[in-house]
């Protein structure tokens, strides 16, 4: 059964993180350049340092810890944290403090768990996602509960299918192919339960996006990669995965090597 046999490969690829064109820990902090040459993020950090200077160290520390805890707990639910969420639940009275408080929260998460905080701009929102700096594939098998392994395998298959369809996969085609693998849209599956419900979970966790598109066949629902897929998965790894199934060299798929049209760039 090829899902199970490719699970180990899939797990090792899922672990490789994607550098986005957002910020991560190494890029945080103002540069020494001319103020007018500072990026908007660097200016925001300078501003927040001014506001923070007026606070007591204890109050600032409390906010840093609150933010670290918030990012940690939110990550457990696998729903990406938006800037607005942080303003609403952590920095209620002091939104300007965000860059400074984030700097502190980063330190706690780094030294305790070896997590980094990535800032990702996507669809006019800024998201905060945790990245695991421990790059050991076996760790994924340890931290994820047994029942989720098969779910991740399914996710990898779906992302692969979307990628091979140039980031525009008709939902109808998805279900037709899954049926070949023994996964029915309406029947309960032994591993996945109601597979359609699981697909919607993936959408909620921003691994996959659904879009209504007008084609020659009328209005269809198309599936694309979501923000979290770009954050966690490298396209070249997906290509490697698909190539290994067909036992070919991934170089034969020239088009799928390039980034998705209109989507985020990969580095």
């Amino acid at each position: 059964y090829f899902i199970q046999s490719n699970l180990r490969f899939e797990m090792s690829q899922q672990n490789k993180r994607l550098k986005t064109n957002g910020l991560d820990d190494s890029q945080a902090g103002p540069s020494n350049a001319n103020v007018s040459q500072l990026t908007p993020d660097a200016r925001a950090l300078a501003r927040s340092e001014q506001v923070a200077a007026q606070m007591s160290g204890t109050d600032l520390k409390k906010l840093e810890i609150d933010l670290a805890r918030y990012l940690l707990f939110a990550d457990k639910k696998n729903i990406p944290t938006k800037k607005q969420d942080i303003f609403k639940h952590v920095l209620k009275d002091n939104p300007r403090l965000l860059p400074k408080v984030l700097e502190g929260a980063r330190k706690y998460l780094k030294r305790t768990f070896n997590y980094s905080v990535c800032e990702v701009d996507y669809n006019k929102n800024r998201y905060y996602l945790l990245r695991n700096n421990v790059e050991l594939p076996e760790l994924q098998l340890l931290t994820r509960p047994a029942h989720s392994h098969s779910q991740l395998a399914l996710l990898t298959i779906i992302l692969s299918m979307i990628h091979m369809a140039n980031n525009a996969l008709d939902e109808k085609d998805l279900w037709e192919t899954l049926k070949i693998l023994g996964i029915d849209r309406t029947e309960s599956h032994v591993d996945f339960g109601e597979t359609e419900k699981l697909l919607n979970e993936f959408v909620k966790q921003t691994y996959i996006e659904k879009q209504k598109v007008t084609t020659t066949n009328g209005l269809v629902v198309q599936l694309k990669w979501g923000m979290r897929a770009y954050h966690e998965v490298r396209m070249s790894d997906i290509l490697q995965f698909v190539a290994s199934i067909y036992d070919v060299d991934k170089d034969i798929w020239k088009k799928q090597f390039s980034s998705h049209d209109g989507a985020m760039d990969i580095s």
């Binding site: 609150d66 805890r69 918030y70 707990f73 457990k76 639910k77 952590v90 931290t143 994820r144």
Partner: protein, 242 residues
């Protein structure tokens, strides 16, 4: 002085093996002692460091020194039914943030609180299965909880070790996770109504009481003391135990 300080700080920094361990504990929330030892051994092996012996408590102390700033902790405890030891990743600060990220609805929470209250306030420390189920009828929400939903919640809480089902007795009691994570809360909220085991001095919800001197014991603590069958006496007042 600064040199010593900065080196001490570096020495107490967590290694890859610790990060792997704490990440796994945070994900799995509760593991048995046996699983914990297997886990730290595996983490040490995977991170390519070597220790002369695997001292789990030392590693946990090291990790806890970093977790404490975030009001988190890896705490050890014992199941009152099976006497199995567990390590639990607990949150020590019940605030708006931790409440936000729960998987259960407010109504589910209310049901859970009602259940454990019954267990805590009862002297035997358990609630009959049928009573556990009908308890969902007396929730203060307008929308009634169905028995189907209540049953699913009970099953889920048992699988997460919040509760424990005693099939022989047809009852539910507090599981190791509830005892470890909510122990301090139970002491502060129900202080006057709960007792500690006279032998091990920790909170005793599910246990046996001596009728003569009124002290309470964990079943496994009592078993440890009373080795021979003839010696069925209360460890406290030495009265014969029926």
């Amino acid at each position: 002085h600064y040199f010593i300080q900065s080196n001490l700080r570096a020495m107490s920094a967590l290694g890859v093996e610790h990060h792997m361990f704490v990440q796994t504990l945070a994900a799995r929330r509760i593991v048995s002692e046996k699983e914990a030892v297997e886990l730290i051994t595996k983490c040490i092996e995977l991170s390519d460091v070597s220790y002369p012996t695997v001292e789990l408590p030392d590693h946990i102390t090291k990790i806890n020194s970093k977790l404490s700033d975030l009001f988190l902790e890896i705490r050890k405890g014992t199941c009152e039914h099976t006497a199995t030891k567990y390590y639990c990743f607990v949150n020590n600060q019940e605030d708006e943030i931790s409440k936000l990220c729960s998987n259960y609805s407010p109504q589910d929470f209310a049901y859970f609180r009602k259940l454990i209250e019954q267990m805590i306030l009862s002297d035997e420390g358990y609630v009959q299965s049928t009573d556990s189920l009908t308890l969902c009828n007396s929730l203060p929400d307008q929308k009634k909880m169905t028995y189907v939903h209540a049953k699913a919640l009970l099953r889920g809480w048992c699988s997460e070790h919040w509760l424990l089902e005693d099939r022989k007795n047809n009852s539910f009691q507090l599981g190791p996770r509830a005892l470890i994570e909510l122990g301090p809360y139970i002491q502060s909220a129900y202080g006057d109504h709960v007792t500690s085991c006279s032998l091990c001095r920790t909170l005793c919800i599910y246990g046996e009481r001596c009728e003569d001197c009124n002290t309470k014991f964990h079943y496994h603590c009592k078993e440890r003391i009373n080795k021979s069958v003839e010696n069925m006496r209360c460890p406290n007042c030495k009265a014969e135990w029926s």
